[in-house]
């Protein structure tokens, strides 16, 4: 059996990590807007994936990676 490309666990870990740093006040306003975008993307990707079929998931992952590159 193969590993899936998009991992909920990874997404969750990343969100938690960013949140922790935000709570520790490690970002200035400029970095913050970047992180807000990133977390928004992660949350959206997770929630969309829960409600998508296999084919749709592929699209989401692609879109998700594309939006990463834009940052």
């Amino acid at each position: 059996m193969k590993k899936t490309e998009f991992s909920y666990r990874d997404a969750l870990n990343e969100i938690e990590e960013i949140l922790k740093k935000i709570e520790e006040g490690k970002f200035d306003l400029d970095q913050l807007s970047e992180k807000v975008k990133r977390v928004g993307n992660l949350l959206e990707a997770c929630k969309k994936k829960l409600r998508s079929t296999e084919e749709e998931i592929g699209k989401i992952i692609n879109g998700f990676n594309a939006s990463d590159e834009n940052q």
């Binding site: 969750l12 935000i22 977390v39 829960l50």
Partner: protein, 423 residues
């Protein structure tokens, strides 16, 4: 004895008859016998015919065998009684304690006629067997393996071991598809026999296919609709439990029974009562994950908002400082302006005062220039044709002229006009 003498020979029927009387003499009463059912048939009239065996405990080989029957009038009562008490039907593989009469029929030979069964023996035997299997799984170190696997955050890809036609399978699919949250699941059925002797091999086979599959399944579910407990005997199997326990993906069972759990249930990651309950469990796991996301999202929004609020507050304070500085600055500037203005005013006043002085001088001059003042001195002036008359030659005798004096006016008719002499 001489086999050629008729006196020393008997017919088979005579022998059988003799055996029968000896047996009856030896076993005049019914006796309690422990045996295992190896075959069981019920004919059209409701009589039950069994084959009973005994296996050697060490070698597991059959060391004794006997035919038995339960007449329909007895079977009609014993069968439901046994099933109600043990949860199992009288069937192959079950060990029983029977009250039997030893029978011998010249034509059909030796058999036992069963009049009663003690189900508590069977219960004890099953419990003993079950404990032995559990003990073996423990000894093999596999019993907790599947249970200790982490359950996936989102069990979205589901491998189903069931029978396509099973009601439980359809219940499961329907429950998943109609979840109220709109979650989507990827399900794949791995067909298997779900009861009887073939179930063990069939299910182990299906597990193998799932393992070799291209898809990374998050969870395996073993489901079937409800059945009698004896249908579930296949799930109390060491070999099956051994495979389920060691499967590298969490296994959920929903094999449709309310009472004691089977050994397969015991080693599975989670045992649920019905296929529908398995579906609910999966949906709930996803819901819990989403709730976790929502919590994180709320915390995140709260944090970001608080940072923004702090920044805003700081900006406001800075702004207010700036404003107060500006106000101060403007105050100074205004003060400057005010003094400028007053000097300007002063200047203007001076200017105007001077102007006023000049004007009054001019006014005086102008006043002085008013012809009235000249008239006061006795001078007068004359208007002719609307103009002040300054040249006598402009008037010929007979014309009318108007003279203004200090007091009053004169209208005169010119009698003479002469430029050279005074009158």
């Amino acid at each position: 004895m001489d086999p050629h003498r008729s006196r020393d020979r008997i017919k088979l029927s005579e022998l059988n008859s003799a055996v029968r009387s000896v047996l009856l003499e030896s076993f005049p009463d019914e006796i309690w016998v422990i045996a295992e059912i190896s075959e069981l048939k019920v004919n059209q009239t409701g009589h039950c015919y069994l084959e009973l065996i005994e296996k050697d405990e060490q070698t597991d080989r059959i060391c004794a065998r006997a035919r038995a029957n339960i007449w329909s009038s007895t079977y009609r009562m014993l069968d439901p009684y046994f099933e109600n008490t043990t949860g199992y039907r009288l069937s192959k593989g079950i060990k029983i304690l029977i009250l039997a009469r030893v029978e011998f029929h010249e034509l059909y030979g030796y058999s036992l006629t069963i009049s009663d069964i003690d189900p508590t023996y069977t219960l004890g035997d099953l419990a003993k067997k079950r404990m032995e299997i559990i003990a073996k799984l423990e000894k093999d170190g596999v019993i907790n393996m599947n249970r200790e696997l982490p359950f996936p955050l989102v069990p979205g890809k589901i491998a189903i071991i069931s029978s396509e036609t099973a009601a439980g399978y359809l219940d499961f699919i329907r429950q998943l598809d109609q979840n109220s949250f709109g979650y989507r699941f990827f399900c794949k059925l791995f067909q298997s026999v779900m009861q009887g002797e073939q179930a063990e091999e069939s299910i182990i086979n299906a597990l193998g296919k799932i393992f070799e599959s291209e898809t990374a399944f998050d969870v395996v579910v073993i489901i079937r609709g409800g059945g009698s407990k004896s249908d579930l005997a296949c799930f109390d199997n060491y070999n099956l439990a051994f495979h389920v326990a060691q499967f590298p993906v969490p296994v959920l069972t929903g094999i449709g029974h309310e009472q004691d759990e089977t050994i397969t249930d015991l080693v599975a990651h989670k045992k649920l009562k019905t296929p529908t309950a398995v579906a609910e469990y999966i949906i709930n796991s996803v819901y819990e994950f989403e709730s976790q996301l929502t919590l994180l999202q709320d915390r995140f929004i709260l944090q970001v908002n608080s940072i923004l609020a702090t920044s805003n507050a700081r900006l406001k304070v800075t702004g207010q400082k700036l404003i107060s500085v500006l106000i101060h600055h403007f105050a100074l500037m205004r003060a400057g302006l005010t003094s400028d203005l007053s000097s300007l005013k002063h200047l203007l006043r001076n200017f105007f005062n001077m102007e006023k002085a000049q004007i009054s001088t001019l006014a005086q001059v102008i006043q002085r220039l008013d012809p009235v003042n000249i008239l006061r001195l006795g001078y007068s002036y004359t208007i002719f044709n609307g103009q002040i008359l300054t040249d006598a030659r402009k008037v010929v005798p007979g014309e009318e002229i108007h003279t203004t004096l200090k007091k009053g006016y004169l209208t005169s008719i010119v009698s003479d006009s002469n430029i050279s002499k005074k009158p």
